[in-house]
Symmetry: C2
Subunit: 333 residues, 2 copies
């Protein structure tokens, strides 16, 4: 069977461009025992994939040139040689950016989309939701009445992180890249305040006004100058969950020097880098909480769905200019 | 009674100079109830005092221009109106840089110098020793067989931090600023390896060779480029105790950009800034350990003693060019 598949055509230097991706036609082999044939339904594009396009040692293996790009995918089972997963089932797994694919059933998880949209398993109930929960509850640890700042607040992770801080009783300020996103954060997602980093003259001063008693915890998805503005407002013994540095992923030069280390020292701040995979033994527990809050309407979610397999590179590139509200997904018709 | 006293003549911009200090003659008032008259014996000069010379909000109050500079001092009691502290006692406290001073007895601690030199209470059994213990055992937490790097290793804090890591069974690499210091670390203080940052071409590459299995914990006294070289070699889930940033204290421009945040993220590193005062409820416990290790000869110590009250500014300035081995002190004759 033939399918279209995206491969990494070349490693990006700085900001990726469509030329770093190439569609190929490949022939899928016949199913072996325990394998299933899948048709991709929703493909997740995520900022962390940018790191995998570099040829550097990191916590996840680098993509290879001329080899497929992979990410989280919700797929329909078209054909099955597995006892556990049947034709017609909906599954989620880490799969190539292709229309059809063959995978061992042991690497897939069957999902129930009778009550929630299937793509929730790539967002709120997937890696972004798990990441938000671990970073907020285990590292930021907001106490009732404390003030928490979330950068990249309108993204797949930030949206959930901020709402979890609200559930924990904190005051939450989101930083996002448009007035529309800021309004959404306040009106739909319950953030107390939001700052548009593209129009503010100084995040540091804005936060100083909004948070006269300082900031107790910071969930950082973006790094760079935004982080500098937040860290300047941190209180003694504040916590930083270092979840992402999207402002730096495409940088070809060293980030501008800043005073972050000096403040971390003098304010006795704890900064913890983390990747959600390290906490896999807690995923069941976390998903129980997230599902419960979703059912109780305490957690809301949104997504930006781009239609068409060919749009995968555009959707991915759009992450770096903030084209998404919530989870960015590509739906394959 | 008349005494000489150093005041802050002006706030330094960048590297301090002797002109930022001025000796004044002042008249001490008669003792009130519970006060004692002290003659300074050993005055401690410490890198963190540089921060107090700036007019910025920090964890310790800024020194005021034309007001005395204060630091840890061991003093002899010349006269007493206290029931607890008598003439002839030796005490330690935070006192002005003056030959004589008057202080409330409640703010002083009587010390026993019958078995150890009195200035140990400003070093190994004082703030530097407490800082080293807390940073190494509570934040770096080296397990047996792990690899620990200490920057500023030949300084008052670094010397103790490295030895505590050895006591805990770790392999310890020190970074210091001369061949003499590096030899001292290895030959007298039991460090496994030492790197001279002034002559190495690349701390990153040197550490890569010395630590093929990576670095598990980093006790940072210096910051800047040295820290970048160490962080590049950190293992997954490594710990950083952010104790000092002496390379940056006199900087008038932003530090050079570096990749520290990116590595902290991808390696799931925990970085904790700390100041020892936050742990004051544990000082008795910590001093018990330090004293025991000193008595068992597991902890060694050294100091650089400058003679003469007038040399206080020189001794302080010498810290920033690494003129000290171990604790830097001024002895008042």
């Amino acid at each position: 069977m033939e399918t279209a598949q995206f491969v990494l055509a070349s490693r990006p230097y700085g900001m990726p461009s469509p030329s770093n991706f190439r569609v190929e036609k490949i022939i899928l082999e016949e199913l072996k025992d325990n394998e299933v044939l899948l048709k991709s339904w929703y493909i997740s594009v995520d900022p962390y994939l940018r790191g995998r396009m570099n040829d550097t040692k990191s916590y996840v293996e680098a993509f290879q040139v001329n080899q497929p790009i992979k990410s989280g995918v919700v797929a329909k089972v078209i054909e099955s040689k597995s006892n556990k997963i049947k034709t017609g089932d909906i599954v989620v797994g880490t799969l190539p950016w292709s229309v059809f694919s063959v995978e061992n059933a042991d690497k897939l998880r069957k999902i129930d989309n009778s009550k929630i949209p299937p793509y929730f398993y790539l967002g709120l109930l997937g890696m972004p939701g798990l990441t938000a929960y671990i970073g907020m509850t285990d590292i930021c640890k907001p106490a009732k009445g404390e003030t928490v700042v979330v950068s990249g607040a309108a993204g797949a992770v930030g949206l959930v992180a901020g709402q979890i801080a609200k559930i924990k009783g904190a005051r939450v300020i989101g930083i996002a890249g448009s007035e529309e996103k800021c309004n959404l954060l306040k009106e739909k997602f319950g953030f107390d305040e939001a700052i548009n980093y593209k129009t503010t003259k100084s995040i540091r001063k804005d936060l100083g006004k909004i948070c006269p008693e300082g900031v107790d915890a910071y969930f950082d998805n973006v790094g760079g100058e935004i982080t500098e503005g937040v860290v300047a407002n941190l209180n003694f013994r504040a916590r930083i969950a270092l979840c992402g540095q999207i402002s730096q992923y495409n940088s070809t030069k060293l980030p501008a020097g800043n005073l972050v280390m000096a403040w971390i020292l003098t304010k006795s701040v704890t900064l913890q880098g983390f990747i959600v995979r390290s906490f896999s033994d807690r995923f069941d527990e976390v998903l129980t909480y997230l599902t419960q809050w979703l059912n109780e309407d305490k957690l809301k979610y949104t997504e930006t769905i781009i239609h068409g397999f060919d749009k995968l590179p555009d959707a991915f590139l759009g992450l770096f200019s903030g084209k998404n509200q919530g989870k960015m997904l590509v739906e394959i018709e």
